[in-house]
């Protein structure tokens, strides 16, 4: 790690003084200044596109807009600093409005919306020559003149600040959240993340980076032109981020510097410029998705390989340690009081009554199992309880609170959910996957407490030896258990477990039974969907049998097993 830090520090110093060393032909202070401003503006695109994965295809609009706004305001006689502030604020406000409109919809709307905005900015700038200077651009004047070296100092300092703030932002909780959102929005919502709000914030912050880089560049060059905010500029910006390495701290810097330098040293590149950008972009997307930074990292790993983590994974065997004494469910809800109330809930998809007038309660300290043939409405019911679907009729109460109008992420703290096919993040470690739920619980924990809590949880699940491995290094067999560990951390009142025992061996099922009994003894209310009837009979306090969207039996396991109607409808098909 120290070797790496040293290398980074040395690289930074060399990079800063490089334009004056005359080693690299064509890399002059002037070019370095322009590249630095450009790279600063690309940090915004890197945040929104590289880190978050939003398809912001018109980001140049937010690079040019503040310059235009500032210039226009200055034209009305506003002082320089006020004009800059207004220009930036206006541009950020517009970004915020755009996000409010497009972020809620599928990504294609955001892609077309941002692209369309670049068309608008370029078109309007051309269409209103009296205000914007038309095709030749708007001349911007600063009340001072800086020397070439002073501009370079400003650019280097601004870029350093930009990189530092980005690195500070894109780590820990934020980075975990972003990876989760990017990989699986639904899982992110269930964990408690307000995805729409988050993406709106990210786009707004990103526009600030774009704007600061853009406005500095505009005053440095002295003019802002329509094509600076247009589609071509946006595509070139994307190309530089992608080529450098989307999501990486130094990605945009590397991409910008390389591309700008290549064009500076190659004469007559004008005609080929767009094609080279395009080919570079396409080839990197297709064959080196991590960009140059990733390529360099791979080379570095060959030079200084990390110690190989050994993956030993006989889980769920041997003695199971005690679960941690999690601060149990608040005392007002003693064991035996109702946690989840489902009152005459119905869900119709057109003419299909997926769930029809279903009522039942799940109490604290109780395990209730839902069984029934495929298509009985069990999964729909789970989706209704977690807020993914809205009921057509009826009410769902959680701790006596009506859940109507409570969105998925707002239920995250109270409900821990696992999925039929686990929805974990492959490029996070196991411990980070667990911590990503702690990140979004209402009571604040610092990073160290979160990690300690998550490690204790993994120890309780006998998963400690996997804690620091990336999820994609671990066999799919363990994912189910890791997801259960994530769902049950942070003492949710209700656990919704979708086929927790599927794919487990008999021995593993035994351990799962112990785990669930411990979770129950902590006072959790647990609702399980499961096809393994033997497992259900061992663990459940009550069994609910569904068929065709209706409850056809609800009783203690022994009674259900001997119920003739239930046997005919469901068990008969199995036994």
């Amino acid at each position: 790690m120290t070797l790496r830090a040293l290398a980074v520090a040395a690289a930074c110093i060399i990079t800063v003084v490089l334009p004056y060393l005359d080693i690299l032909p064509g890399w002059t202070p002037a070019l370095a200044t322009v590249s630095a401003f450009m790279a600063l503006s690309l940090i915004g695109l890197n945040l929104v596109f590289g880190v978050t994965g939003m398809l912001a295809f018109g980001q140049a609009a937010f690079v040019a807009l503040p310059g235009y706004l500032a210039g226009v305001v200055q034209g009305f006689g506003a002082p320089f600093l006020l004009a800059i502030a207004l220009g930036l604020a206006g541009s950020v406000l517009v970004a915020r409005l755009m996000a409010a409109i497009f972020v809620r919809l599928p990504g294609i709307y955001f892609a077309i919306g941002t692209l369309g905005f670049a068309f608008v900015i370029e078109g309007v700038a051309r269409a209103l020559p009296t205000i914007t200077g038309g095709a030749s651009g708007l001349v911007l004047e600063a009340p001072f003149a800086l020397t070439r070296n002073a501009w370079y100092a400003v650019a280097a300092a601004a870029l350093a600040l930009g990189i530092w703030s980005f690195a500070w932002l894109a780590r820990g909780r934020f980075l975990r959240t972003m990876k989760l959102v990017r990989h699986d929005e639904l899982a992110a919502r269930v964990v408690g993340i307000d995805v729409v709000r988050l993406k709106t914030h990210v786009f707004t912050i990103a526009s600030a980076y774009s704007g600061i880089g853009g406005i500095l560049m505009a005053y440095h060059v002295g003019v802002v032109a329509p094509e600076n905010g247009g589609v071509n500029a946006s595509l070139e910006a994307l190309a530089m981020v992608v080529i450098g390495g989307g999501g990486a701290v130094f990605g945009p810097v590397l991409g910008t510097a390389l591309v700008q330098w290549l064009f500076a040293i190659s004469s007559e590149a004008d005609r080929y410029e767009l094609l080279i950008y395009g080919l570079g972009f396409l080839l990197v997307v297709l064959y080196l998705p991590g960009g140059l930074v990733d390529g360099l990292r791979k080379i570095w790993n060959i030079v200084a390989p990390l110690p190989q983590a050994s993956v030993t994974a006989p889980i769920l065997t041997g003695q199971l340690p005690k679960l941690l004494p999690v601060a149990a469910v608040p005392t007002a809800d003693g064991p035996g009081s109702v946690c989840l109330g489902v009152k005459k809930v119905a869900k119709h998809f057109g003419g299909l009554h997926a769930v029809d007038e279903v009522s039942f309660d799940v109490r604290f300290g109780q395990i209730v199992a839902l069984i029934g043939p495929n298509g009985a409405g069990k999964s729909t019911l789970f989706n209704l309880i977690s807020g993914i679907e809205r009921p057509t009729a009826g009410r769902i109460l959680l701790r006596d609170r009506d859940m109507a109008g409570v969105s998925i992420h707002q239920r995250g703290a109270d409900i821990g959910r696992s999925f039929q096919v686990p929805r974990l993040v492959p490029n996070l470690t196991v411990i980070e996957n667990i911590m990503s739920r702690l990140d979004h619980l209402p009571n604040f924990m610092n990073e160290r407490d979160k990690e300690a809590t998550a490690r204790a949880q993994l120890a309780a699940f006998n998963l400690s030896q996997l804690a620091d491995l990336l999820l994609n290094q671990i066999g799919i067999g363990q994912h189910k258990l890791i997801e259960l560990a994530r769902a049950s951390i942070g003492s949710p009142a209700l656990l919704l477990l979708d086929e927790p025992a599927v794919g487990f061996t008999a021995l593993e099922v035994d351990r799962l039974v112990e785990l669930l009994q411990m979770l129950r003894s902590q006072g959790r209310a647990i609702l399980i969907v499961e096809h393994n009837v033997d497992f259900v009979a061992r663990i459940a306090d009550e069994i609910i049998v569904m068929e065709g969207g209706r409850v056809i039996g609800h009783d203690k396991p022994a009674a259900i097993m001997s119920n003739a109607a239930v046997q005919r409808a469901y068990l008969g098909a199995l036994i």
């Binding site: 919306g113 068309f119 078109g123 595509l235 767009l274 395009g278 297709l286 807020g387």
Partner: protein, 288 residues
């Protein structure tokens, strides 16, 4: 000269183009689940190829065949050789690849003909036909009639032919379609083929009346998408929304000036987005 009638005529022509572009975009989006941002490049490419081939004194009708054929092959090749092998990649990355393809297409077009707009003669000559105070060329009439009938023919193709029904099945549920023996990949390839063909033909018919440059592709993709989004991504509804969009844009251009067309298009996109947001389940975004 009556401004209103003239705006109707030019609106019908652009509307025909938007309907043709929208149909292809919807077919590809529904069957292959990819928003093809390189869709409009077939429109621009066909025009650029035409201008280039005519400059090389290739016979007119042969040039049309080559230009259209090349555009269709490029669209199908994009799917067959670049997107299909990466079918399991996330949708966002696939969109990014189509954007990269559009990007490369723009670069190639600059290389071929430069940045200035190019054009070529119309297929159908003759004096403009005057009617109700407006004038429309024969080519314009052919474009409108072709656009309307070709976009409408898709509805018949999808419901009456075996191949069409297989495409509908692919759009509805590719896994289920595959299980009952539908060749899903063939359906998708045909969708790209039809998309490329319609875009290229729209280009051949419209470009002599306007002009084309390397920038036209993405702008056309965006308009095709807006038409498609208004119809709710319906392969039959996009006929109406395409013509509606063309007429509206033409009216705006006639009465407010051509330069406000981009902002107005964007405003329509915002309205569509707000309208669609209504349908998004509460909490927003993805579906389970």
């Amino acid at each position: 000269m009556n401004l209103f009638t003239q705006a109707i005529f030019s609106g019908l022509m652009t509307g025909a183009v938007y309907a043709l572009l929208g149909v292809g975009l919807v077919l590809v989006y529904r069957t292959a689940r990819v928003l093809n941002l390189a869709h409009g490049e077939a429109f621009a490419m066909s025009g650029i190829f035409m201008a280039l081939l005519l400059a090389w004194s290739v016979p007119f009708y042969l040039a049309i065949v080559i230009a259209v054929g090349a555009s269709v092959l490029l669209a199908m090749g994009l799917h067959r050789f670049i997107l299909r092998p990466r079918g399991n990649w996330p949708p966002g990355t696939l969109i990014l690849i189509t954007l990269g393809a559009a990007f490369v297409a723009r670069g190639v077009m600059i290389l071929l003909v430069g940045t200035d707009p190019v054009s070529f003669p119309a297929i159908f000559d003759g004096d403009p036909i005057r009617f109700a105070g407006g004038a429309i060329t024969l080519q314009g009439i052919v474009l409108v009639v072709f656009g309307f009938s070709a976009a409408a023919a898709i509805g018949i193709f999808l419901t009456r032919t075996q191949t069409g029904k297989q495409m509908l099945a692919t759009a509805e549920n590719p896994y289920a379609a595959e299980l009952v023996g539908v060749d899903v990949e063939r359906s998708r390839l045909i969708a790209y083929g039809i998309g490329g063909l319609y875009s290229a033909l729209a280009g051949i018919l419209l470009i002599p009346l306007i002009a084309v440059d390397f920038q036209s592709g993405l702008s056309m993709t965006m308009r095709g998408f807006i038409a498609a989004a208004i119809s709710g991504m319906s392969p039959t509804g996009v006929l109406l929304s395409g013509f509606g969009l063309g007429l509206f844009e033409s009216m705006i251009g006639a009465y407010l000036g051509a330069l406000v067309q981009d902002p107005v298009m964007f405003a329509i996109l915002i309205l569509v987005a707000l309208w669609q947001s209504r349908n998004v389940r509460f909490g927003g975004g993805v579906r389970a």
